[in-house]
């Protein structure tokens, strides 16, 4: 099973940097499915799920951004109270650490999508599947 590739960028915290990222992707015709910015004072990290991560990675690199690709899980989450609890509790009980997570809701889907980076992705996939939690494939993310 090929994992979902998240694109992460190192950006200095100054005006116009995020706009430059958005423009670079827009010019290349790459669509952003989900995005989060984590900031730490003078710099930040932008994390994104793109419809075409390989192309996104390539154009950002060509434009001299510091960029990396990370394997993440996209977990379907019931859009009701307790939806997030079920997932993180399963991970926690199985001693899997969540490095970070962020969620988005799509127009088509009945449920929310939780993007999560964990320290043991294979184990996380196994224990969530055992709980009948649905994990989106690369193709599904691409097709949203």
């Amino acid at each position: 099973m090929s994992e979902i590739k998240q694109i992460s960028l190192f950006v200095e915290n100054r005006p116009g940097r995020t706009a430059k990222v958005a423009k670079t992707l827009s010019d290349a015709g790459v669509n952003i499915r989900a995005l989060t910015i984590a900031e730490a004072g003078d710099f930040g990290v932008i994390r994104m799920v793109l419809d075409d991560p390989d192309k996104g990675y390539k154009v950002l690199k060509e434009n001299a951004f510091t960029v990396s690709m990370t394997d993440v899980l996209a977990v379907e989450m019931k859009d009701t109270p307790g939806g997030l609890y079920e997932i993180v509790n399963t991970l926690g009980q199985n001693e899997i650490n969540v490095d970070y997570a962020y969620a988005f809701v799509t127009a088509k889907a009945q449920s929310a999508m939780l993007i999560v980076r964990v320290d043991d992705i294979a184990k996380a996939r196994r224990v969530l599947s055992e709980k009948k939690v649905k994990i989106a494939t690369k193709e599904e993310i691409q097709a949203i």
């Binding site: 998240q6 992460s8 190192f10 950006v11 200095e12 984590a38 730490a40 003078d42 710099f43 990290v45 994390r47 001299a64 951004f65 510091t66 960029v67 990396s68 990370t70 490095d99 970070y100």
Partner: protein, 434 residues
């Protein structure tokens, strides 16, 4: 291995070399006394006459000269030769004050070229080499100095000067450049541009040596350059007051050979002016023994170094000075503690997550000096976990503190954001109002 340019002089037994220095010291003292009102006045004030200088040790009876003397006597008040004998001027940039003017007789240019011919030969360069001179040409001594030195050994000179970096790399390939002379910071920039062009200096060029100087650089930077490009990175030393770039390490890279028939060096305690032992750090002082337009007596250049007067394993008997720690002019005083930018560089270049370019910002917040070191994060050093980046900042800070003894703030910045230099890199911006 490499041969000698002038084996007779370069391998001269110490006893003979000292005798030669003694003769030349006596005549230069007599020469400046007879030809320069400035020196006559200085000698009088110090109560010394040419006749008092009988042995090499008597050099300590002579008064010191400093950069401020050159400035006070701007433009040519310290010259000893008449203008009719001067064939060239170089002028320092004057970034730290009024510019200084240096003049050369025909013989001075010869001596300068001869010094570099010996140096370039000692690193294995010769008539089969193509030397790309990427130092600035013009009033700065770097370009023309290396140009004359490389021509003297019969190498082909590519007098490209600074800038136009893509063309530098194209010509390096087309003409088969084997050695480049530039500031180390400019060469780092050339490396970066070559990589962007998809050219490997190691595989796609014939470059085997770099002659780097005009700014202090650390052993750690040498290692980075050598590891990335496979070239032999050689340290060159000299300043415009004593002619320009003059001396390099030999192929063994165990200190910079200072030609004793041309210059007498002393290494002194900067506070007391007393000589320090071999192996101890002190201030470098030059007396020119074979320079006539602007001879200098006990000139305090302001560079800190360590001397080794033992003959080198390469067979050369002339004294060596170890890597220049820094110029006292470049030294920052932060919260009362002396900081040399070269110390910062040596720490940073040992940290693989940090790129080749960096800068120091100093300002004052209330009564406190604040030093910020800005470094570029490398692609390999990037983790998308904020915690990892914070840990990296902390690690850099801690290592800086270990060497400098003061806390420095560390800013991680994106690659390519710190200004690249073509000549001497400007690493420090001091915004303190004094």
């Amino acid at each position: 291995m490499s041969g000698y340019w002038d084996p007779h002089i370069e391998r001269m037994p110490l006893e003979d070399l000292h005798a030669l220095q003694e003769d030349r010291l006596k005549s230069v003292v007599r020469y400046v006394y007879d030809h320069s009102a400035f020196y006559r006045q200085r000698f009088k004030e110090a109560g010394v006459e040419p006749g008092d200088i009988r042995t090499l040790a008597d050099v300590t009876k002579l008064p010191f000269t400093r950069k401020v003397d050159l400035r006070d006597n701007y433009p040519t008040g310290m010259f000893s030769a008449p203008k009719s004998q001067v064939v060239r001027y170089h002028v320092s940039s004057g970034t730290t004050g009024k510019p200084t003017v240096v003049g050369y007789t025909k013989g001075d240019i010869e001596t300068w070229s001869e010094s570099l011919a010996r140096a370039l030969t000692s690193v294995g360069l010769g008539r089969d080499d193509v030397v790309q001179v990427a130092y600035g040409y013009g009033l700065f001594t770097g370009g023309l100095g290396l140009h004359y030195g490389a021509e003297r050994i019969g190498a082909a000179v590519l007098p490209i000067g600074t800038g136009n970096t893509e063309r530098q790399i194209e010509l390096m390939q087309d003409l088969g450049t084997t050695a480049i002379a530039s500031t180390p910071s400019y060469f780092l920039h050339i490396m970066e541009v070559a990589e962007k062009m998809g050219i490997s200096i190691k595989k796609d060029t014939k470059l085997k040596a770099g002659i780097f100087g005009a700014e202090p650089w650390s052993l750690e930077t040498r290692k980075r350059i050598e590891d990335a490009t496979g070239i032999n990175a050689i340290d060159i030393y000299g300043t415009s007051e004593i002619s320009g770039p003059l001396f390099t390490e030999c192929y063994l890279k165990k200190g910079i050979h200072v030609w004793a028939d041309m210059f007498l060096i002393e290494v002194l305690d900067p506070k007391t002016g007393e000589p320090v032992e071999d192996g101890e750090t002190g201030e470098l002082v030059f007396t020119t023994l074979h320079k006539y337009a602007l001879p200098l007596i006990r000139y305090r250049i302001g560079d800190l170094t360590i001397m080794d007067s033992e003959p080198c394993e390469c067979g050369r008997t002339h004294p060596r000075i170890m890597r220049i720690l820094g110029r006292t002019d470049d030294m920052l005083i932060i919260r009362g503690i002396n900081v040399f930018p070269s110390q910062v560089e040596s720490v940073l270049m040992n940290i693989p997550e940090v790129g080749d370019h960096w800068e120091i910002l100093v300002d004052r917040q209330g009564p406190l000096d604040n030093m910020t070191v800005r470094v570029e994060l490398t692609q390999a050093g990037f983790s998308d976990k904020i915690g990892d980046l914070m840990k990296l900042k902390k690690k850099i800070s801690k290592q800086l503190k270990g060497v400098l003894n003061i806390a420095a703030e560390v800013d991680l910045v994106e690659p390519g954001t710190i200004p690249r230099s073509m000549g001497k890199a400007k690493r420090v911006t001091d915004n303190r109002k004094v």
